[in-house]
């Protein structure tokens, strides 16, 4: 059948299983949008292209499917850049489709021309410019295949406006032909056997789990491995929610703001089994100081992640699910009673450090997050922003839903949470979605409240409002003589802003009002923003100073 380029794009998207796209139109995608109403795809009009990319990213993380965003040429395309980099850093499969000036105008600095394939080359897994309608179907097919397979990532397809309008016979490419792209998904069995041997010999093993386990859908296998050999499980920020955190073997997040017992366990382990993690510096600190007594097994789908930052004694390249399925039966039952006893001792001791805020009067963020956790029974889909709020979410929300945390880890993009929650809620309408954000980050993409209202999404927003760019203020307090340069921020009356956008807004100034506000928010059938006016100069503890070994943390003060 003859089709124009715009029809081919939508037709290909439908065949990839896409039913929603996030975007903003403009001059060089009008032909594309013109054909959209004929296809079973819901377009969500965002208020900024960065938010469109974050929404696609949030959608991808919440559903495991590829998220799609659309933007026009020039400023539309450059506005996507942060969102694309964010998705790529966190291995989130998105496809961005941008319009481009007519092929005859390329390179002439035409109105709204920008070299977006050049700009995004280092921040995409793959990108391409399509100038001819006959190449479109293949390009879209490859884009989805590359985005979702292997080590997932961001792909951008830039389509000139004449390619959108040109006609050709549509033949759906059933296969892709990419001789240079063959992801390794099955682990080498000899190495798997060796890994089992190392696990069976270990006295103080620790599993270190990243987002790869969530991407692979390997929750059951992970828990089985942990239980069979009684191995405690530490996670990275993005690995949180790979194991139910109320599981006795869960140690929660390790690293710069990890719990002391988690970091102590890692540093004293004799075996680290890293799965689906890139041993990021926020977890390991200086690589030379990381887990000095441990042998390291590293299981990852991407060979380039192996030995990139830390030494590895045994690499296994493969999909976490496949490798764990091969590995688990080879692992012997074990108890590790002494080791787990030691860790549980540290864990009990850590409890002492939280008494004062639990019993105190002050409205502290720990309490807010812990109450959300209890109210939602750890089952909400949490979307956190960046900064102190992100760390408090990570430390105090007990994630029991597999894949229940969506956060910007690698890029640490303020403003991520609100638009990402749009994608998450659209992709998982059955889930309760909560945003935890700071006053700085929320104001970076606050315009998306309009999208939330327009789409009638029942997202609940917990704003941890401290009047500061808090995480940076904390660094200034600790390491720069309290020189609060550039960190105090004025904010509007956020509850009123919410109301002005047409959603419910609540302000909470007292600890005693927290539960009531949260319950009210849950009862409202629609979006709600709660502005929690928390202690302004509250800090995130524990904290490992830059470059120090992760067991040399600044502990929580024992009293306020």
């Amino acid at each position: 059948m003859k089709m124009n380029g715009a029809q081919i794009i939508w037709e290909c998207l439908v065949r990839e299983g896409v039913d929603v796209v996030f975007g903003i139109t403009g001059g060089k995608v009008i032909p594309l949008y013109h054909e959209l109403p004929a296809y079973p795809i819901h377009h969500i009009t965002m208020r900024h292209e960065q938010a469109a990319a974050h929404a696609a990213d949030g959608y991808a993380r919440a559903t495991g499917k590829v998220g799609v965003c659309v933007a026009t040429s020039g400023p539309g395309a450059t506005n996507l850049v942060t969102g694309i980099a964010n998705a790529q850093m966190d291995s989130s499969p998105i496809v961005a489709i941008t319009g481009q000036v007519a092929s005859g105008d390329l390179g002439t600095d035409a109105f709204q021309e920008v070299d977006i394939t050049g700009i995004t080359m280092p921040i995409t897994k793959h990108n391409c410019l399509v100038t001819n309608v006959t190449e479109l179907a293949q390009a879209i097919r490859e884009a989805f295949h590359i985005a979702r397979s292997g080590h997932p990532g961001a792909v951008l397809v830039d389509v000139t406006v004449d390619a959108q309008m040109g006609q050709c016979e549509f033949i759906y490419p059933e296969t892709v032909n990419l001789p240079g792209y063959r992801p390794h998904t099955r682990g080498n069995l000899r190495q798997v056997a060796q890994a089992a041997e190392m696990i069976n010999q270990a006295k103080r093993p620790v599993l270190m789990v990243g987002r790869g386990v969530i991407v692979a859908g390997a929750q059951d296998e992970l828990v089985e491995l942990a239980e069979r050999a009684q191995i405690p499980v530490a996670t990275t920020l993005l690995g949180k929610s790979a194991i139910p955190e109320s599981h006795p073997l869960s140690l929660g997040m390790g690293g710069m703001h990890g719990e002391a017992y988690t970091n102590l366990a890692v540093q004293q382990a004799d075996l680290i089994i890293g799965i689906g993690t890139r041993f990021d510096d926020r977890f390991t600190s200086a690589a030379s100081t990381f887990a000095p007594q441990a042998k390291i097994i590293h299981i990852d789908i991407d060979p380039a992640e192996i030995a990139k930052r830390v030494r590895v004694d045994l690499p296994i390249v493969g999909d976490a699910l496949n490798v764990l399925r091969e590995l688990v039966p080879l692992v012997q039952n074990a108890q590790h009673t002494e080791w787990i006893g030691l860790i549980d001792g540290w864990r009990a001791e850590a409890r002492e450090y939280s008494r004062h805020w639990e019993e105190g009067e002050a409205l502290v963020p720990q309490y807010v997050v812990r109450q959300i956790s209890e109210l939602t029974e750890g089952d909400a889909l949490m979307v956190s922003d960046v900064g102190q709020n992100q760390m408090w979410e990570a430390q105090y929300y007990i994630h029991n839903r597999f894949g229940g945390l969506i956060s910007s880890g690698g890029l640490g993009t303020m403003g991520f949470a609100l638009p990402a929650s749009i994608g998450a809620q659209v992709g998982r309408p059955e889930c309760v979605v909560w945003v935890v954000a700071g006053d700085g980050g929320l104001q970076m993409t606050i315009q998306e409240l309009a999208t939330i209202v327009q789409e009638r999404l029942p997202v609940k927003i917990a704003l941890l409002n401290n009047g500061y760019l808090g995480m940076v203020r904390q660094w200034q307090e600790f390491f720069y003589e309290r020189n609060y340069c550039g960190t105090p921020i004025f904010g509007p009356d956020f509850a009123k802003v919410a109301e002005a956008y047409g959603m419910a807004g609540i302000t909470v100034c007292d600890k005693a009002q927290v539960n009531e506000a949260l319950e009210q928010a849950m009862q409202i059938d629609g979006p709600v923003l709660i502005d929690f006016r928390i202690e302004q100069e509250h800090n995130v503890f524990p904290m490992v100073p830059a470059g120090r070994p992760i067991d040399e943390m600044i502990r929580r003060p024992r009293q306020a």
């Binding site: 394939t117 050049g118 080359m121 280092p122 897994k125 793959h126 990108n127 391409c128 410019l129 590359i146 990419l178 001789p179 240079g180 792209y181 200086a286 690589a287 030379s288 991407d302 060979p303 380039a304 192996i306 030995a307 990139k308 930052r309 830390v310 030494r311």
Partner: protein
């Protein structure tokens, strides 16, 4: 032990990289080297024996561990199909240079003599200069350049290293 950017005991390694001949692939490769802070000395690219496949020769300064990353990062690029480290293979390694040297009637004979010793060729003569073509190992090219320098080099262009493993076991043959 930190593995990345470990500059002690690094050496010159020659990689042969085969890649699909698609738009942007060359800038993608060179971009990757720049962005990951790898230290490349030369990079040449041209057609291979297979149509649609380009062949690149890269000389990179790297320790073993960094080299391992370079190879993996090259493979990670979607259109790179084969990477071979031929540093330790018996390989034919050549470079071509064109050198335009200041030459007046009194120095011509001497330059001609030197060019003959190097088995190079004079490919152009103008009233005050001669242009010389030399093909050989980089060392040989370096020596000729140094020997000609006192005459006054007016223009110089070198291709960088191209390489092939003897007996057809290069990246091309294996690929």
């Amino acid at each position: 032990m930190t593995l990345a950017k470990e500059y002690s005991n690094h050496s010159r390694r020659t990689l042969v990289v085969l890649m699909e001949d698609r738009p942007g692939v060359l800038s993608n490769v060179s971009n990757m080297f720049r962005r990951r802070n790898y230290n490349i000395e030369s990079l040449t690219v041209g057609h291979s024996e297979t149509s649609g496949i380009s062949r690149m020769t890269v000389v990179v300064h790297a320790s073993d561990t960094v080299l391992e990353q370079v190879v993996k990062q090259l493979y990670k690029l979607i259109h790179v199909t084969k990477v071979t480290d031929i540093t330790d293979d018996a390989a034919v390694i050549r470079e071509l240079a064109l050198i335009r040297v200041h030459a007046i009637s009194t120095s011509r004979a001497e330059i001609k003599q030197l060019v003959d010793i190097f088995r190079a060729q004079i490919i152009d003569v103008a009233h005050d200069s001669m242009t010389i073509e030399i093909t050989g190992t980089e060392d040989k090219v370096d020596s000729l350049v140094e020997i000609l320098r006192p005459f006054g080099i007016k223009e110089l262009t070198r291709t960088g290293r191209v390489a092939m493993v003897r007996g057809g076991l290069s990246g091309g043959g294996r690929g």
